[in-house]
Symmetry: C2
Subunit: 253 residues, 2 copies
């Protein structure tokens, strides 16, 4: 929540620099300790949770804007980031539109009218991300997919749509490079797939299948120190991974 002075400054700046009527919301996925996580923000002085979002600069490509938002919230750059849907219900941002009514003249109020929002989803490396609140918010944190706060506006719907898209994407694109650490074991990668799909997969069939894609390199040194048999470590073969991204995989899970 802004003070009147902050609001005026924000609105003046926004009107000057951003494309009107358009926002971007990002569903930023991470993976840690066998859990799929999403980055969410909490507004200052309010128990209101949001997806990270922002606006498009007047001369900025929308993909660049999404990247900028992602970088501002996580410090990460050159990430898997993909537009997946535009949400354009005229009432979707109504609570926001009315939030500052009376504090500022409607024609000066950046929030006074409808916003279409472009949904992007990102897959990022959990351990290297550095969650950072924006000027509206006091908390920027990872939350388990199964333990999300209620999200404001249509952000719950946006999140669900992103997840559906990710699950579909899994059928014809390799994922994992952006979500896993550089080196990982086969069971760890399997856990990622199981978490995204929300279903158990057969260990042996998973391994056969993922290896058949030809996007993994097995490293010589198994992981030591574990409490059990030392698993092999793998890394992604970036050349083949990129090729698979472009050409698409076959079949579905």
């Amino acid at each position: 929540m802004f003070t009147k002075q902050e609001l005026k400054e924000f609105c003046d700046n926004a009107r000057l620099n951003f494309v009107d009527h358009i926002s971007i919301d990002c569903v930023i996925f991470g993976f840690h300790e066998g859990q799929l996580k999403v980055l969410v923000l909490k507004m200052k002085d309010e128990d209101a949770w949001y997806l990270p979002g922002g606006f498009v600069l007047k001369k900025e490509p929308i993909d660049t804007a999404a990247n900028r938002i992602l970088k501002d919230r996580t410090g990460l750059d050159k990430i898997f980031l993909q537009q997946f849907h535009v949400f354009g219900d005229p009432d979707r941002s109504r609570p926001h539109n009315e939030m500052y009514r009376g504090m500022i003249a409607p024609e000066e109020n950046w929030f006074s009218h409808r916003f279409l929002t472009i949904g992007y989803y990102a897959l990022v490396d959990f351990v290297h991300a550095n969650p950072t609140p924006d000027s509206h918010s006091e908390v920027c944190a990872w939350r388990d997919l199964g333990d999300l706060p209620k999200l404001e506006l249509d952000h719950g719907h946006i999140l669900k749509t992103a997840l559906d898209t990710l699950r579909l994407q899994l059928n014809y694109q390799p994922i994992g490079y952006n979500l896993m650490p550089k080196e990982f074991t086969m069971p760890e990668l399997q856990k990622l797939y199981e978490t995204i799909l929300d279903q158990k997969l057969d260990r042996r069939n998973f391994q056969r299948r993922i290896l058949a894609f030809g996007i993994l390199n097995r490293l010589d040194t198994p992981r030591k120190g574990g409490a059990h048999k030392a698993p092999y470590l793998y890394s992604f073969d970036l050349d083949n991974y990129q090729k698979a991204l472009n050409e698409g995989l076959k079949g579905g899970w």
Copy 2:
């Protein structure tokens, strides 16, 4: 191309009624005589071809806007219509932005600034569509996919993206209900798939596969009067078709 007077009227009206910065462009597919067709418009007094498009009314959901545009151009309603991408390069509409420069003050000129466009694609029944030009255009016509005029702006790119999306969609959604007449033969349906995918399919395997989806009803009366063996007629089983749309099909072509 507008006269100054027309331009002023158009712009005044647009500013009053439409959401700024946003447009919608539709890739409308039809199927006729074994050819996949796309609806294109030609501008008045210029050899400039475009995809059908329009703007979003201030209180209108974007899907409704796309439907309205589709109905204005074809007379058809309740059609398969799907958002597939937003095109948001800051320079994508530059030629349009500059087109009327000098004829009208920039702050009054609806076209003076960047537009993001939301791409929709539609599958419609060729024989029932009634192509109708809009106020900018003098021609609204079907063109074969292989015989398209050069399209202005990024409309060529938009069309290509729509086609890629349609081909991908084919893997996990039934299509055809909106493109085929009510009753059709198996070879006719196969031709549709072959045209979209731009590849030959095996007659027998195609039939087995499409029947396995359980979305077709075979009618009792074969098509009579043909020059050869009378083929069976089929129609879509709407209940199962809808179910398949919601649940998705398995596998890929």
